[in-house]
């Protein structure tokens, strides 16, 4: 038998075994590769994958104290990683902070993360009077149903030390400061002018001229006057303005012996209104006519209050209703009911969105600034009238600035709006 014939079965089996092993190897390798896509970082194949997916670090990192603040804040700024491109390797940036007392960073802790494409992060909880060090790392990761499959982080770049300090003046508000000082100086100057006896012209405000008539009407008709000081508390300047007007109305009501009632929606307003009315009745020499029950707390709830006052208007049909203070959605609910009952109504608010409702439903409306001018206007006291004049001069200043701004903007000379922008 030729030699090759004798070795043929042997070669066949050898080839079969080699082929079987090769097939087995392919099968196992395939299984191994398919498993690494589902298991986290630990296997050798994963390491190869992460090396492949690790992004390059962000560049040019800097950190600086946030200016014009109360301290405790540092801005960290960087340039995006070269891998931070659409469908690139960067999914987010992680920011780490280390606090040191000896000039060298200690252990870093992660303080936040921000989406890819970002170049700034504000650390709003930086400690003051210590060295703060920061690291920013570009991060790539993959999630499946909310579970982190793997995460690859670039080598972070270090920056620091940086100090978070507080400033003694907010330089971004210089324009507001100049404006406040200038207008305050004008108002104080005109108050002094008025005190020295100089006669100041104040334009007539129809709504305030009608107060006497409105109180007199209630007296003649023998009906009540309702005074509604809005639904805000005493920390709102509109309520303070409303209470100031209440003082004058109460004095008139006491003189004319008209019945005045004040339903309120805040306890502190109730206490203040009582005190103001008590003094007003005393000034009119009618202390005995004042009763605390004239000022009634209803409820703090907006629509509950509106419902109660509406009911009171419908049942008692007051001759005169004053709405002076901060009003919102209840403004028209109240004013329309008062209108339907035929009451003479004088409204005043600093809420621009409610002014149209009052204008439509009331006989007189104090528009914005007139509410704040009312107390001074009705007092006829020179010092208060001086402040009113100052308010008018302030308006004139703004008017001139607006006209100059329009001219400059129209001819493209200079954009004056920058000077009036407040941060």
């Amino acid at each position: 038998m030729p030699l090759y014939r004798r070795h043929l079965p042997c070669r066949f089996f050898t080839g079969l075994v080699v082929f079987f092993h090769f097939f087995l190897f392919l099968l196992l390798a395939g299984q191994a590769i398919s498993q690494t896509a589902e298991t986290p970082v630990s296997s050798a194949i994963d390491s190869l994958k992460l090396t492949d997916h690790t992004p390059l670090p962000p560049g040019s990192i800097s950190a600086e104290d946030v200016p014009d603040d109360a301290g405790g804040a540092i801005d960290i700024i960087w340039e995006v990683s070269p891998d931070d491109v659409p469908n690139g390797k960067v999914r987010s940036y992680h920011i780490f902070r280390s606090v040191s007392l000896n000039g060298m960073p200690s252990e870093f802790t992660k303080i936040g993360e921000i989406n890819a494409g970002s170049t700034t992060f504000r650390d709003g909880r930086a400690a003051e009077d210590v060295d703060n060090f920061y690291k920013v790392a570009a991060v790539n990761f993959e999630n499946s149903n909310g579970t982190l499959l793997w995460e690859a982080m670039s080598s972070p770049a270090l920056v620091g030390p940086v100090h978070a300090t507080s400033q003694w003046f907010n330089t971004r508000r210089v324009n507001a400061f100049v404006g406040v000082v200038l207008l305050s100086a004008i108002i104080i100057f005109l108050i002094n002018q008025a005190k020295s006896g100089k006669n100041l012209y104040i334009r007539k405000i129809a709504g305030l001229e009608a107060v006497d008539e409105a109180v007199g009407r209630a007296t003649e008709m023998g009906k009540k006057i309702l005074f509604i000081p809005g639904i805000q508390d005493m920390n709102d300047v509109q309520t303070i303005a409303g209470i100031a007007i209440l003082g004058h109305v109460a004095e008139l009501a006491a003189e004319y012996e008209a019945k005045l009632e004040v339903p309120v929606s805040k306890s502190l307003v109730m206490v203040t209104a009582r005190e103001t009315m008590k003094e007003a009745y005393a000034r009119a020499g009618r202390s005995d006519a004042f009763h605390e029950s004239q000022v009634v707390f209803i409820t703090e709830d907006q629509f509950g209050y509106a419902a109660a006052v509406e009911g009171q208007i419908v049942r008692e049909k007051p001759a005169t209703i004053f709405y002076q203070g901060a009003f919102f959605a209840e403004s028209l609910l109240l004013a329309e009911v008062g209108n339907a009952e035929g009451a003479i109504q004088i409204a005043g608010t600093g809420e621009p969105s409610q002014l149209p409702f009052f204008v439509a439903a009331c006989d007189y409306t104090l528009i914005g600034e007139e509410l704040f001018a009312a107390s001074a206007y009705m007092s006829h006291e020179p010092r208060q009238l001086g402040s009113l004049k100052g308010q008018d001069v302030g308006k004139a200043v703004f008017l001139v600035a607006i006209v100059v701004g329009i001219v400059c903007a129209t001819f493209g000379w200079i954009d004056l709006s920058h000077f009036f922008r407040v941060n």
Partner: protein, 225 residues
């Protein structure tokens, strides 16, 4: 001293607030937060003044059988009932395992809120639609030049806010005339007017604040010299 102490407190508080707007450094930077907390605490205690006053006034009304005393009775029953249920469920929830709140879904307090308070509030708010119609009817009657201008502006505004008019003129033009006109009215004349009012209000607030800080305006502490 009855006048001086409140005036001193007002002046100091007013100045600190004004300064804190420009000086972020401690202690001024924190002033707004600190004072805000104080106001909240004072308001929380002061609410009892209001509640007790309400009980006294309504109680007196019931006792003397004054007109509308039945409404006063409803006020007392609902107020005391709601407070009692809230307190009872609050304590019961604290002792329960696991602890629960009187505001949790399914409690009687929550039922009162969901099925009594909420519908009543919504009803009041919904009535605004009818009042707006009646007020608009009065305001838009063309009695004089201003009212006529208001009527015309309102026509274009309403025409721009609903697609019907633009749809009607669509065979003649592709431009949304009414929408654009209403946007122009809102962005220019209305915005300009509102800004003018806002500037006046800001100056008024400043002038009022100065009067209060300087002690010229004293009505809020009862007036007088």
């Amino acid at each position: 001293m009855r006048r001086e102490i409140p005036l001193i407190i007002t002046t100091i508080a007013g100045l600190v607030f004004a300064i804190s707007y420009f000086i972020p450094h401690m202690p001024f930077g924190e002033a707004e937060t600190i004072f805000g907390d104080w106001v909240t605490i004072v308001q929380a205690f002061a609410i009892w003044l209001g509640v007790l006053n309400l009980l006294r006034v309504t109680g007196e009304k019931i006792h003397r059988k004054r007109p509308g005393w039945t409404y006063a009775a409803i006020v007392i029953v609902t107020m005391v009932g709601t407070i009692a249920i809230g307190i009872y469920e609050g304590f019961a929830g604290m002792n329960a395992t696991p602890p629960s709140s009187y505001r949790d879904a399914g409690t009687t307090f929550d039922w009162i809120f969901q099925y009594l308070y909420d519908p009543l509030s919504s009803t009041m708010f919904a009535m605004l639609a009818f009042y707006i119609s009646s007020a608009a009817y009065r305001a838009f009657r063309a009695r004089n030049l201003e009212a006529t201008m208001l009527l015309i502006a309102a026509f274009f505004m309403m025409g721009g806010r609903v697609p019907l008019l633009d749809q009607l003129i669509s065979p003649f033009t592709d431009t949304l005339v009414f929408s654009k006109l209403s946007s122009w009215i809102m962005n220019f004349p209305v915005a300009g007017g509102q800004r003018a009012i806002a500037i006046g209000i800001a100056l008024g607030i400043m002038s009022s604040s100065l009067r209060v800080i300087l002690g010229i305006e004293r009505s809020h502490i009862g007036g007088g010299e």
